[in-house]
């Protein structure tokens, strides 16, 4: 069973914003709503690194856990989606989300997108696949077309990967092995409190 995940390779990300505009164009996301954005640390300093961030489609999603109207659901592929007809736009999910993924377009200005809006992993929402109504409420449903999210597919350096977790982990692993300098993935050191050595991690698990 495919389990959809994003991963952003900080060694590759050049903060070009290709993922951001790919998303904007594919879903006609209005000005001010950012389903995806770039985050840079040490800007202008040695060690400058960027990653592209959107909804991470958490396995145990905090947004889902806190939603007072239970408008979130997970697809078979592990994509976290929500029903905009049910959403009350309260913002509790935004409060709960560690990534600032939920967006709240100004009500009314953009038609049906008055409710919470976020990255759908290009999987649309609870409407019939690839219909006009699905597009207007949630954006394109690329998954139903057999395609992966536009942001990752168009990434300028193939830093941002999307797809079945196992598959993209394999792609990432090949890079790390080729670089021969350990994984620089975000949070690795925090997670393992080691020097980020892949072999050490392997022993542990």
């Amino acid at each position: 069973m495919a389990r959809m995940k994003f991963i952003c390779d900080a060694e590759r990300c050049i903060e070009c914003n290709g993922c951001v505009t790919a998303c904007k164009s594919e879903h006609e996301v209005p000005w001010g709503v950012n389903r995806r954005r770039l985050v840079t640390v040490n800007d202008g300093l040695p060690g400058e690194r960027s990653i592209s961030v959107a909804c991470m489609h958490c396995t145990d999603a905090p947004c889902m856990a806190v939603c007072p109207v239970d408008c979130f659901y997970k697809t078979e592929e592990g994509v976290v989606l929500h029903d905009k007809d049910l959403c009350i736009g309260c913002g509790y999910c935004f409060y709960a989300c560690p990534f600032g993924a939920p967006q709240f377009p100004q009500a009314g200005a953009f038609g049906l997108r008055g409710k919470m809006d976020k990255c759908t992993f290009c999987a649309g929402g609870p409407e019939a696949n690839n219909t006009e109504v699905e597009f207007k409420k949630y954006g394109r449903n690329r998954l139903a077309e057999g395609k992966l999210p536009a942001c990752a597919e168009m990434c300028s350096t193939k830093a941002l990967l999307a797809g079945d977790g196992n598959v993209i982990a394999t792609i990432y692993k090949q890079r790390v092995a080729t670089r021969k300098k350990g994984p620089e993935v975000w949070g690795w050191k925090m997670a393992y409190k080691e020097d980020g050595n892949i072999a050490a991690a392997e022993v542990k698990s």
């Binding site: 069973m1 889902m64 696949n129």
Partner: protein, 76 residues
């Protein structure tokens, strides 16, 4: 195991991912029940007509396009 851990390390859900080596439970650990409209499965649209195998194959093919090694290191 590495394959699975590597991609998850960036997220904050590590504990869940590390619970075992077999197929991991993907259900949210919440007893809440989705109250919204039922969605169609990805493979159920016009493009695949419910053929999940075909859909998965297409997605796998698409995934490879994200890996430039597949094109640079094989052909000569």
């Amino acid at each position: 195991m590495i394959r699975r851990t590597a991609f998850l390390a960036g997220a904050s859900v590590l504990a869940v991912a590390l619970t075992g080596c077999g197929e991991i439970d993907q259900k949210a650990k919440t007893d809440k029940i989705y109250a919204g409209k039922k969605d169609e499965r990805a493979a159920d649209g016009a493009a695949f007509g419910g053929d999940k195998k075909k859909w998965e194959a297409k997605l796998a093919e698409r995934s490879v396009a994200q890996n430039e090694y597949a094109r640079t290191e094989t052909k000569k």
